[in-house]
Symmetry: C2
Subunit: 163 residues, 2 copies
């Protein structure tokens, strides 16, 4: 359903800072949390745009051994006031996430302002994402407060641009 | 970035009721709201799954004359207790939506429990979606409370399954 912009469509004015993210990224990540066994994952991330004032974000991970789908998430990034980033994300676990933060140099540091879950979702109360992007390398770490555990390291991955 | 399930992957147990949505839908819609001029739109909607307990939802609309992209949204549907539907959606306008409601016979009636916006988003306080699906026809209407306007009819469309 995604509709990548033809190359001739420029980024919407004010969104230029997000240009470094555009494309498809792939790599390996490591997850851990006090309530689960540590795990490795293969990840593909995409950022695309259609010339409007947002960048579409999608992500999916798979078990490195079996290829079995693990997590996925979708959403949008926006930029306000030049170096302030806004992220809205829907998680298939029944969670919505609204985060904001600085995008300054190679670092985007997003902090959740709203996290809410459906009736069947596990309780998640805070998500923090630090994203580093430079050239064809994207690294991120995620901290999460969930199921009674305070904000704790959860995910870390190193991705490379594949197109 | 979407990964439609191969046909041999069955829906996750409990999600069978969502089977009627799977596929790609296309058609024409009409939008209106007290604060804007009425408008027509062409819409493509997709529901897909990977065998996990959710169905991925994506949507995009375009101006019928120029093909210019208008709205888009992405998210996930879940089912709880057989006939209770949960929807989480990210909107490129900087909005997250968490809605729940009945999926009884051909009607899904979703009512927002949480709507939140980033700093640059217009204020939206409630969204109601009535979705009718039968065979290869999907019709929906959306009511919205936004920018000081109480819950008011906003969108209506009739889509047909195209694959």
């Amino acid at each position: 359903m995604s509709t990548p912009a033809p190359p001739e469509v420029p980024l919407s004015p004010g969104m230029e800072r997000l240009a470094v993210l555009l494309g498809t990224w792939s790599g390996r990540g490591h997850g851990e949390y006090p309530t689960i066994d540590p795990f490795e994952y293969d990840e593909t991330v995409g950022f695309s745009h259609v010339g409007k004032p947002f960048v579409a974000y999608s992500q999916r991970t798979a078990d490195p051994g079996s290829g079995r789908p693990l997590h996925a998430e979708v959403g949008y990034l926006r930029v306000a006031r030049g170096s302030w980033a806004e992220l809205v994300v829907a998680h298939p676990t029944g969670i919505v996430e609204l985060s904001e933060g600085t995008f300054d140099g190679p670092w985007m540091r997003l902090r959740s302002r709203v996290v809410a879950g459906t009736g069947t979702a596990k309780e998640v109360t805070a998500i923090e994402r630090d994203i580093f992007v430079e050239g064809d390398v994207l690294e991120y770490s995620v901290r999460m407060a969930a199921v009674g555990v305070p904000l704790t390291h959860h995910l870390r991955a190193r991705l490379e641009r594949v197109r």
